[in-house]
């Protein structure tokens, strides 16, 4: 009897030890992942990635991907509310700008130890990890890089030929091109083609930033002469009629629709729009980096993935995040969406090397940066920037007054 009791105790102790030390990792684990998709094709792609991961991972991990609309950034707010309420996913797609909100409330898992022990760590540029640290305002990494988008200028080569405009090499040449490309093509006295497809609504701060830097300004102080000069250039483009009169309310959909319909000759967006551009124009569309003036800057759009602090199985969750960052998930997502991969190996694949828009993205990458990621940034982007800019474009405030309002709105005391 004593012997049986002893055997039972040993078996029990070993089982307890194994389960507590992770030997039970092949137990089925379910990870819930949230993401957004810009169109049905992207949506299907994510589901395929999930299916492939579930079928191929040898750790018995099942990812359940749930799609929520981006809705002009409302995705991040929805995620925040759900997680604050005690629910939400284990992992989620994410944007840098939301980092302070989530870290201030201790909602994100620190990825430092996971990345440190990750064999593919060096597949991603160190500078990207630095950007992730910068966004958190700490020395820790809370965001797993996934893909980036560098803004550049789309243009119509045929329109450039018709007006004798060459691809601008400098900022002043760019402003001249905006003027020359603005035309009354049918002679009825009204403008049919505008040189520049300006984005004055939400999200327009990114292309606008290029004007600020081209005049020698930066985002640490919006009240300097250089920044005001950049803002004045932006206003002049609108007031002189080189941008559509609807620009104050034009967002992503409008600038793309205007460019595709031939209403604008140039517009600023990233590679994510390129499949649609090629479908519409074939070879009659190309791109160039926003040209240098005194300085050069373009916005680095980003999409990351995060692990929520509330995640019950962080090892499994990291397996999934790693698959998206450097595995087949990275390759498939970037191939379909046209986004710039963060994995060095994936970047070298022919599909990316032979893409003319990818080349421009890579060319523009050295001057790409982000806006200050502060707790005021999201409100500044969604409400303060569009309304302040609209007032300036419509002549209600001067460039200088507008910049003071933007300074006050972003750098809240």
């Amino acid at each position: 009897m004593k012997k049986i009791t002893l055997i039972f105790c040993v078996v029990f102790a070993v089982t307890l030890f194994m389960s507590s030390t992770g030997f039970s990792q092949n137990e089925p684990v379910t990870i819930t992942h949230w993401y957004w998709a810009d169109n049905p094709e992207y949506s299907a792609t994510m589901q395929e990635i999930v299916k492939e991961f579930n079928a191929t991972n040898d750790k018995n991990i099942t990812v359940v991907a749930e799609e929520y609309p981006w809705d002009g950034g409302a995705y991040s707010e929805t995620l925040f509310r759900v997680v604050m309420g005690g629910g939400g996913p284990d992992t989620s797609s994410f944007k840098l700008t939301s980092t302070p909100l989530f870290t201030a409330n201790n909602l994100l898992a620190n990825l430092d130890s996971f990345i440190e022990n990750w064999e593919d760590k060096d597949e991603i540029e160190e500078s990207l990890y630095d950007t992730m640290r910068l966004a958190s305002g700490t020395d820790n990494i809370y965001l797993m890089p996934w893909n980036t988008q560098v803004l550049y200028v789309y243009y119509r080569p045929s329109m450039f030929d018709e007006t004798g405009v060459s691809v601008p090499q400098t900022y002043s040449e760019f402003l001249e091109a905006c003027e020359k490309l603005t035309r009354d093509t049918d002679g009825d006295g009204s403008i049919d083609v505008y040189g520049f497809g300006m984005r004055g609504s939400t999200g327009g701060h990114e292309p606008w930033g290029s004007f600020i830097w081209a005049r020698g300004g930066n985002f640490s102080d919006f009240t300097t002469e250089e920044v005001v000069a950049g803002m004045q250039d932006f206003i002049d483009l609108f007031e002189n009629g080189h941008a559509p009169p609807t620009a104050t309310m034009d967002g992503f959909q409008e600038i793309i629709a205007n460019f595709k319909s031939g209403k604008t000759a140039m517009t600023i967006h990233h590679i994510g729009s390129s499949p649609g551009m090629i479908e519409t124009f074939g070879d009659d569309v190309n791109a160039f980096p926003f040209p240098k003036g005194v300085d050069q800057w373009t916005s680095m759009g980003d999409t990351e993935n995060v692990m929520l602090e509330s995640c019950g199985n962080k090892d499994a969750a990291f397996e999934w995040l790693a698959y998206l960052a450097t595995g087949k998930g990275q390759e498939k997502w970037c191939t379909v969406t046209g986004n710039v991969p963060v994995s060095k190996t994936v970047q070298q694949l022919p599909v990316f090397q032979n893409n003319r828009f990818m080349k421009v993205s890579i060319e523009a990458a050295p001057s790409a940066g982000i806006f200050p990621v502060l707790d005021s940034t999201t409100e500044w982007i969604s409400t303060i920037w569009p309304n302040t800019i609209a007032a300036a474009l419509l002549g209600k405030t001067t460039a200088s007054e507008a910049m003071q309002q933007l300074q006050k709105g972003l750098y809240v005391e």
Binding site: L101, N105, M249, T378, A390, L394
Partner: protein, 292 residues
């Protein structure tokens, strides 16, 4: 002495509704009042705490609050005013007998049964400065020479959203007034005919006085709904350009979205108090005229 037996059944019957009311209306409202006395910005959780009347002082010093309040006033006056006038006219027409009246009555309800979000998106495209059908029609009829960016300039954005809310609310007034019209005894009109009254006299001496209570109640309800309405404006302009279409409700929504819940709560308390004052004045007027 025999104790009086208390009948609990009325309390039991009312309790489900009461519990739901307390959970979804009373408690959130109480929470909003408490939040209005706090610095409650989820972006700055370390600063959450009681701040007394600071939020109230801040909104009184906030020019955007006053501008939004003024816009709310215009939004309600023009929105509800024209909804009422046009709804009244529609009700008078629908009260007449004509071929296909049933179909017209059904069709006229469409704006009222369409969700506000959909109305906002639909009118946004109707007004679109590049591809909108309104510009197209105006151009074809020679009313304008160049397309108007209705929602992109301050002078036209606010009137444009007001027209949309008018369009949405006309059927509500038409429906309420039509129901009221059908309750007026025809003998009154017959007597007026015998006395030789003309159409205007019948309208102002019989129809409107008989509809007085319907008009009061429906207008009060609509004032409250329109003042609180966010969906139409938010989907058309989000309050822009340059805050020109930002009513107080939209401002509250924007601040709430920015997670500054203390400030948003304070503004919503102010809006509630203003609407409460309007409702009290309104109801007082109804009861005093009834007593007369």
């Amino acid at each position: 002495m025999q104790r009086k037996k208390i009948d609990l059944s009325p309390y039991l019957l009312i309790s489900p509704a009461l519990i739901i009311f307390l959970a979804v209306v009373f408690l959130p409202a109480l929470n909003a009042i408490l939040m209005s006395f706090q610095s409650y910005d989820l972006r700055r959780p370390s600063k959450i705490g009681f701040i007394g009347l600071d939020n109230y002082i801040a909104i009184f010093n906030d020019p955007l609050f006053w501008q939004s309040l003024w816009k709310t006033f215009l939004w309600v006056i023009f929105g509800v005013g024209f909804q009422f006038i046009l709804g009244f006219v529609l009700a008078l027409i629908l009260n007449k007998k004509f071929f296909g009246r049933g179909a017209v009555r059904s069709v006229s309800l469409i704006p009222w049964v369409t969700p506000g979000v959909l109305i906002g998106l639909m009118w946004r495209w109707i007004y679109d400065g590049n591809y909108g059908v309104l510009n197209d029609i105006f151009l074809k009829f020679g009313i304008i020479q160049e397309k108007i960016p209705f929602l992109a300039q301050q002078t036209t954005a606010f009137p444009s959203v007001v027209v949309t809310i008018i369009w949405q609310g006309i059927p509500f007034f038409a429906l309420m007034i039509l129901a009221g019209l059908q309750g007026i005894p025809t003998e009154l009109y017959d007597a007026a005919d015998v006395d030789g009254a003309n159409g205007f006299q019948k309208l102002f001496r019989i129809t409107i006085p008989m509809l007085k209570n319907t008009i009061y109640v429906s207008t009060l309800l609509r004032i409250i709904w329109v003042a609180n309405s966010v969906d139409v404006i938010f989907n058309m302009t989000a309050g822009g350009p340059a805050y020109s279409t930002q009513t107080l409700s939209v401002y509250v929504f924007n601040k709430g979205n920015a997670l500054n819940l203390g400030y948003a709560s304070t503004m919503s308390i102010m809006l509630t108090l203003i609407l409460l004052a309007v409702a009290i004045l309104y109801l007082k007027n109804i009861f005093s005229s009834e007593e007369e």
